[in-house]
């Protein structure tokens, strides 16, 4: 008789749910998740996987072989290039840190004058395409013709050169001058977060400003310094333009220029893939090492109510510190841009603009009206970058939403995939794209699509970091308040969430757009004759050796970038590029 008192079953279990019923409980986010997984696999996993596979394939037959590795590491010259890349990456990264850390400290913590100028210089160095800076520095520091050396000889009467851009230190310096803003951004945001009380606590115990800075402030931002330096190192070893423009006359072969040689006839993607592996391993290794290094210590300073943020008074040191920032700023931006502009208006740049009859607009009119590819490359650049930025931000915001709101199990796998390109050097990614999608069945080589896809994948982490910060800033209760009133999820996202994060997404879009518009390292392997971008055309022009036209094209590139940044500042706030996510 006991059976009669069993509890009534829940209504849902009472009858087996039909398909329709089940669909009612299925959130559309599950389908979206599946779609995103496929997209991310296509953009990230397949190219890198293909790269790995190809490195073990025999050309033509596809049979398994180790000979690619034997070829790739079988010559002293190839190994030297690898070594050169490591030394170059290390020196540039350290040099960039030397430039960036004092500047970040001065801007964030002290009463140094001219902070606005310093800020502008960092911004300028950040948006200046590195290969353009390299051209500028050739004009400045060519051992015989460079303006610096000419001035040096004129002042001192010396025979020799003061500086020589065609040298290892020259190459490292030019790279550092255009990568230090990354460290600056990291370190400055970290410094901004440290409460003055951290320093006050050291001061009151007997530490002077310098001791407190050395023993408390700098150790606190050490992760930011380390992180920034590592990013510069990784960017440097994957950089193509500057080593090609300066390294060849300086006779310095590095991994990227060597990779380019493997793409000479006959194209040896297999060997290139094998040769690219160290870049990938080094990157992954360093990121892991960094995680281990910073594992235990807490670096986020405990933020209490905190007192007012106290500015360190530099006293008489205000001006020397400013001078330091001014020197770095002028080396990174003012001087190269000045010589580029002067030579872009010159018939013969070495004679100086004031030389009689040397001034001309011809370099610009040639590019704008007589050059077949200049305008189309500008157009290509704009729409590839815009499309890639749109795709990246769209994917990023969907992934970020799913991951942040924990809508599906294993959502974090999506986040991992979206961030993965961060540890893949751009040039490696480009070779992966070439290996995976250039040939049939997809046959994307030479199409705009392959470039757009590569740009999308390459800059996805930037968009993702930006989007997750934006989504996290919207408290879930804002959405819950809408849903409890009957708004569906999609309607809620459209009406509540999207307007709240629109501005920061726009900022992210512009950053991706700008970095994509100047990207050379990956584009140079993927462009076809009709899909050349400004960066690639500029590189081609640099091969033709006409510095005046080259400078004029650089001037156009800079003008376009400046316009974009101007629009960005207007729409997304003054600091949209230097905000750290």
């Amino acid at each position: 008789m006991t059976e009669t008192v069993t509890l009534p079953k829940p209504a849902i279990e009472a009858r087996p749910p039909g398909v329709l019923t089940r669909l009612r409980y299925l959130e559309p986010s599950n389908l979206l998740w599946l779609l995103l997984v496929l997209i991310l696999l296509f953009l990230v996993a397949v190219p890198i996987g293909k790269l790995l596979v190809v490195s073990f394939e025999q050309q033509g037959t596809g049979a398994f072989t180790l000979s690619n590795y034997a070829t790739a590491y079988g010559r002293v010259r190839y190994l030297e290039a690898l070594g050169n890349s490591l030394i170059l990456g290390t020196s540039s990264a350290l040099l960039a840190a030397v430039f960036a850390v004092p500047m970040a400290w001065a801007v964030s913590r002290t009463d140094m004058p001219g902070k606005g100028l310093t800020w502008a210089a960092v911004m300028g160095a950040f948006i200046m395409p590195p290969y353009l800076g390299a051209v500028g520095w050739i004009l400045l520091a060519g051992p015989n013709s460079g303006f610096i050396n000419q001035a040096w000889r004129w002042v001192t009467g010396a025979e020799g050169a003061l500086v020589n851009v065609y040298s290892f230190p020259g190459l490292a310096l030019v790279i550092a001058l255009h990568s230090f803003p990354l460290i600056f951004i990291f370190v400055k945001s970290a410094l901004d977060l440290i409460s003055s009380e951290m320093e006050d606590a050291a001061n009151i115990l007997g530490a002077g400003t310098m001791t407190a800075t050395r023993r408390v402030t700098l150790p606190l931002v050490w992760p930011a310094i380390l992180g920034g330096t590592i990013v510069v190192f990784l960017e440097t070893i994957a950089l193509f333009g500057t080593p090609a423009i300066i390294g060849i006359p300086a006779r310095i072969n590095v991994v990227t220029t060597q990779l380019w040689q493997f793409f000479e006839y006959p194209v040896r993607v297999e060997v290139a893939a094998a040769y690219a592996m160290p870049l990938l391993l080094i990157t992954v290794g360093i990121i892991l090492a960094q995680k281990l290094l910073l594992a235990r210590k807490g670096y986020v300073s405990q933020t209490g109510k905190g007192g007012e943020r106290r500015i360190i008074r530099l006293g008489v040191w205000r001006w020397p510190v400013f001078a330091y920032c001014a020197i770095v700023g002028s080396m990174a931006v003012v001087m190269p841009v000045a010589v580029l502009l002067q030579s872009s208006f010159a018939k013969a740049w070495g004679r100086g603009l004031l030389a009689p009859g040397n001034f001309t607009f011809d370099n610009y009119t040639y590019l704008l009206f007589r050059h077949e590819m200049a305008l189309s490359s500008i157009w290509n650049t704009l729409w590839y970058s815009a499309t890639a930025a749109t795709a990246a931000v769209l994917i990023a915001v969907l992934v970020a939403y799913i991951v942040t709101r924990k809508l599906v199990p294993f959502g974090s796998a999506l986040g991992f995939l979206a961030m993965a390109p961060f540890v893949i050097p751009g040039i490696v990614m480009a070779i992966g794209f070439y290996a995976a999608y250039a040939a049939p069945p997809l046959a994307l080589y030479g199409t705009a699509l392959i470039i757009i896809l590569a740009f999308t994948a390459r800059f996805l982490p930037i968009a993702f970091a930006n989007a997750s910060a934006a989504v996290r800033s919207v408290h879930p209760e804002m959405e819950e308040a809408s849903r409890i009133l009957g708004g569906g999820r999609l309607m809620t996202v459209a009406r509540i969430t999207a307007p709240l994060i629109r501005r920061s997404l726009l900022g992210g879009w512009l950053i991706v757009f700008i970095v994509a518009s100047r990207e050379l390292s990956s584009a140079v392997f993927l462009v076809g004759p009709r899909t050349r971008t400004m960066a690639v055309l500029l590189y081609d022009l640099s091969e033709a050796g006409n510095f005046e036209v080259l400078s004029a094209f650089g001037g156009l590139l800079l003008a376009i970038t400046l316009i974009l940044v101007g629009i960005g500042m207007k729409l997304a706030g003054r600091d949209f590029m230097l905000r750290r996510n």
Partner: protein, 349 residues
């Protein structure tokens, strides 16, 4: 909408908008016939490793002016890079290039052997100088409408005529240390041909001796002209006469030196790809480039005229009056890959 698509539309709009041109009516019949077919294709792509950037663009413009509605995508780069792009295309199984012009003979002969070239004999080629006609393929897979004349140049203000090196051999003298500038055989077909010829003359040790003088290495063969203009170096090695003369005309203080051991002449072939996406436009381009109009355009940029009906450029010595050395296609095809590797081992780059 793609960039090309948009450009195509613009071009179409230009044709529709333009008044019927007299030029088209004046074309000789064989060109007129090709023009009709080419116009339907609308464009062609020229991988140009010859000429410098500006004359390349001028040629593209002149072509479209003569044949309205047919646009030339000029992809100007060094010869090796042009061929590298073509090789990448082939590897990917994509047809993008119609005509390849390179300063490296072996590119064309390789492509011919691989059966990747379209045989076509431009009627206008009959008007080319005889030695040029002979440098082309007897089976019409490639033709020569450009020769590189590679020699030495000096900065007048740094090196007097009396002091100047008179030969390739003289460049290994210690007094030219840090004075020389040269291109790279890995990037420039002409430099490859030059290196092959000098290796034949003096052996590879010549380059080892040259390396001791630390020449500044550029990429294209034109790079040293820029280096000279800038005053970075004072002697340009294996520089093309055309670019140098153009530079001189702009007021740069340079002088040509015809080396006693032989001015290097590099006949540079151009070929139509069998898988050319615009075969008729490509053929029309070959007609154009072997005809007088092409040489009138390039002559203004100090390139050699290869037709009797167009005079040689201002300031150049007639080639009959100097000692000329010219590589055979076989020498180049076999030699250039070798010297590229040797070069990289010797110069480290």
């Amino acid at each position: 909408m793609t960039g090309v698509g948009r450009r195509g539309l613009l071009a179409a709009a230009a044709i529709i908008g333009a008044t019927p041109r007299a030029g088209a009516a004046e074309l000789p019949p064989h060109e007129q016939e090709l023009y009709g077919a080419a116009r339907r294709e609308g464009e062609m792509t020229w991988y140009a490793g010859q000429l410098s950037a500006e004359p390349c663009e001028a040629v593209g413009k002149a072509f479209t002016e003569r044949y309205p509605g047919v646009k030339v995508n000029v992809v100007r780069s060094t010869s090796q890079v042009a061929f590298q792009r073509l090789a990448q295309d082939m590897r990917a199984g994509i047809a993008q290039c119609d005509v390849l012009s390179s300063t490296d003979y072996s590119h064309s002969s390789f492509l011919k052997r691989e059966g990747r070239l379209l045989a076509y004999r431009p009627k206008n080629a009959d008007g080319l100088l005889e030695f040029v006609r002979k440098a082309g393929d007897p089976e019409d897979h490639f033709h020569v409408f450009y020769i590189g004349v590679h020699l030495l140049a000096r900065r007048n203000d740094r090196v007097s005529e009396a002091d100047a090196p008179k030969s390739w051999k003289a460049l290994t003298e210690a007094r030219w240390r840090d004075q020389l500038a040269v291109g790279h055989p890995g990037y420039s077909g002409a430099i490859g041909a030059w290196a092959v010829l000098l290796r034949k003359l003096y052996g590879w040790d010549y380059f080892k001796a040259l390396e001791k003088n630390r020449p500044q290495i550029g990429r294209s063969s034109i790079d040293p002209v820029t280096t000279l203009n800038a005053g970075e170096r004072s002697i340009g090695v294996a520089i093309p006469s055309a670019s140098t003369l153009l530079s001189m005309s702009r007021g740069n203080p340079l002088s040509l030196i015809y080396p006693e051991d032989g001015t290097v002449v590099v006949p540079s072939p151009s070929c139509i790809q069998k898988n050319a996406p615009h075969p008729n436009a490509a053929k029309l381009f070959m007609e154009f480039a072997t005809g007088p109009e092409y040489f009138r355009v390039t002559r203004a940029f100090f390139n050699e005229s290869l037709r009797a009906d167009v005079p040689p450029p201002e300031g150049s010595r007639p080639l009959e009056q100097v000692k000329v050395i010219m590589p055979t296609p076989e020498e180049i095809e076999k030699g250039v890959p070798e010297v590229k590797e040797q070069w990289r081992d010797t110069f480290g780059i």
